[in-house]
């Protein structure tokens, strides 16, 4: 059955292509958070992230009939998300700039820890990390978020963003280096 919880993403997507609606539910549950956060980190606007998020999944639904397994499903899904994001940036030049520092992301607070001191430290570290992440160039930030949210390898990041492996690797290295450097004060 394609809707088994341990079924691969590709099997679930093939099941949905063949008419299994439950398979889509499983897929959606697995990837909805990652895709949404990827869009939210990249566009840094919650309302816009909602719109783009819906478009990404609708594009996936419309393309289901032509789906064939040619890569990891997560790579396929994030490629759709990346393309939708690029379309938005190209169409809306006067819109949100990725380097606009004034735009704030409505990120909910991290769950409170049982220990108040540890919790305060963790919240500060998270806020510092998100601030450092926002300071990264778009491409480097995207590489890092794709790795964290989608679990993509360097090759998958390259495929999702349409660049070669070395470029993706370089972007990811720069992102990690900057984040480590910014978080050294918390060591």
């Amino acid at each position: 059955m394609a809707t088994d919880s341990d079924a691969t993403d590709e099997t679930l997507m093939l099941g949905y292509r063949d008419g299994d609606a439950a398979a889509f539910d499983v897929l959606y549950s697995r990837h909805k958070g990652g895709v949404y956060r990827y869009l939210l980190r990249q566009c840094r606007n919650a309302a816009l992230a909602d719109e783009l998020f819906q478009d990404v999944w609708m594009n996936l639904i419309r393309a289901r009939a032509a789906y064939t397994v040619q890569a990891k499903f997560s790579t396929y899904l994030y490629r759709i998300a990346h393309n939708r994001l690029m379309d938005h940036f190209r169409r809306d030049d006067a819109g949100v700039s990725l380097d606009d520092e004034s735009v704030s992301i409505a990120e909910p607070a991290a769950p409170r820890s049982a220990e108040p001191e540890v919790s305060a430290t963790s919240r500060q570290q998270a806020a510092q990390l998100l601030a450092l992440l926002d300071d990264l160039p778009e491409a480097q930030r995207e590489a890092f978020v794709l790795q964290q949210e989608g679990g993509l390898s360097i090759e998958d990041i390259a495929a999702a963003t349409g660049v070669n492996r070395e470029t993706a690797k370089s972007r990811l290295r720069y992102a990690l280096a900057k984040l480590r450097q910014g978080m050294q004060a918390w060591q």
Partner: protein, 273 residues
């Protein structure tokens, strides 16, 4: 951060990132997307199946159509009647020219028909439309020929017909061709001697010589009564009696016929009739 962390992987940063970002899409988006996914399935047949089969089906249809057309063309080519290869001429002027050419080939009336050549097709009728003057032109008078002259004329007519067909196929004016190759009027040959006619030079020669002899006999008969024109009937009757007595019954009959024409009121005696 730990000093030995991978250049492309940092577990501590990853854990810190996962703890920092817990944003989820709104619930109404979840419902809308799931509903859209179900609507897409319930919308209808799988278009992917159609797309998968579209190309093979198109190629198969094209192949079947091509084979059908080629087969049909071959069948039509095999069953095509000869009339389709050389369609009959519907033009009345061209048909008239064809008839004229056939008459010329056949020669004058009464002459022997030309020998039929097996497998030989008559010259195709010229497709050129003859002008009105050619259509209205009366046929040339058929000359009276002797046997040898008729054969020569037949050969000439046949060659003229071929030449006319060739000229017509080149688009030359049919009237000009007809004038050029029209049979030249020949002088009536002199009356053959009676011995020649009786000698059997040919059926046509005998037939043509008989009227000539009759014509030549007319002035000879009229000489019988040239000296009696101004004489009374008694002189005529005496001459008729002399001719009968000499055994010249033909001359006597001719003179008696002339007498009856001239003197219908004075019948001949019984012994002179």
């Amino acid at each position: 951060m730990k000093p030995g962390s991978d250049m492309e992987h940092d577990p501590q940063l990853a854990a810190l990132y996962r703890a920092a970002t817990t944003a989820e899409p709104p619930a109404h988006l979840d419902d809308a997307i799931r509903a859209a996914a179900r609507r897409e399935i319930a919308a209808g047949p799988r278009r992917a199946g159609v797309r998968r089969w579209a190309l093979p089906v198109s190629l198969a249809a094209l192949l079947v159509l091509s084979v059908s057309v080629v087969t049909l063309m071959r069948e039509q080519g095999a069953d095509r009647p000869e009339s389709l290869i050389q369609p009959p001429t519907q033009n009345p002027a061209a048909a008239m020219q064809s008839e004229i050419a056939k008459k010329e080939i056949a020669g004058p009336p009464g002459s022997a028909a030309p020998e039929a050549v097996p497998g030989r097709r008559p010259a195709a009728p010229p497709p050129v439309v003859a002008p009105a003057e050619t259509m209205a032109q009366p046929e040339a008078p058929v000359p009276v020929l002797s046997g040898r002259a008729a054969e020569a004329e037949r050969g000439g007519a046949e060659s003229r017909a071929k030449a006319m067909a060739a000229e017509s196929s080149r688009g030359v004016d049919a009237a000009a061709v007809r004038r050029e190759y029209a049979p030249q009027p020949q002088l009536r040959p002199a009356p053959a001697p009676m011995a020649d006619a009786a000698g059997g030079a040919g059926v046509s020669a005998a037939q043509s010589a008989a009227p000539a002899a009759a014509l030549s006999a007319v002035p000879a008969r009229s000489a019988l009564w040239q000296d009696l024109v101004k004489e009374p009937p008694e002189k005529w009757r005496l001459r008729i009696a002399e001719l009968r007595r000499d055994g010249k019954n033909a001359d006597a009959d001719a003179l008696a016929a002339e007498y009856r024409r001239r003197f219908p009121d004075q019948p001949l005696p019984e012994d002179q009739r």
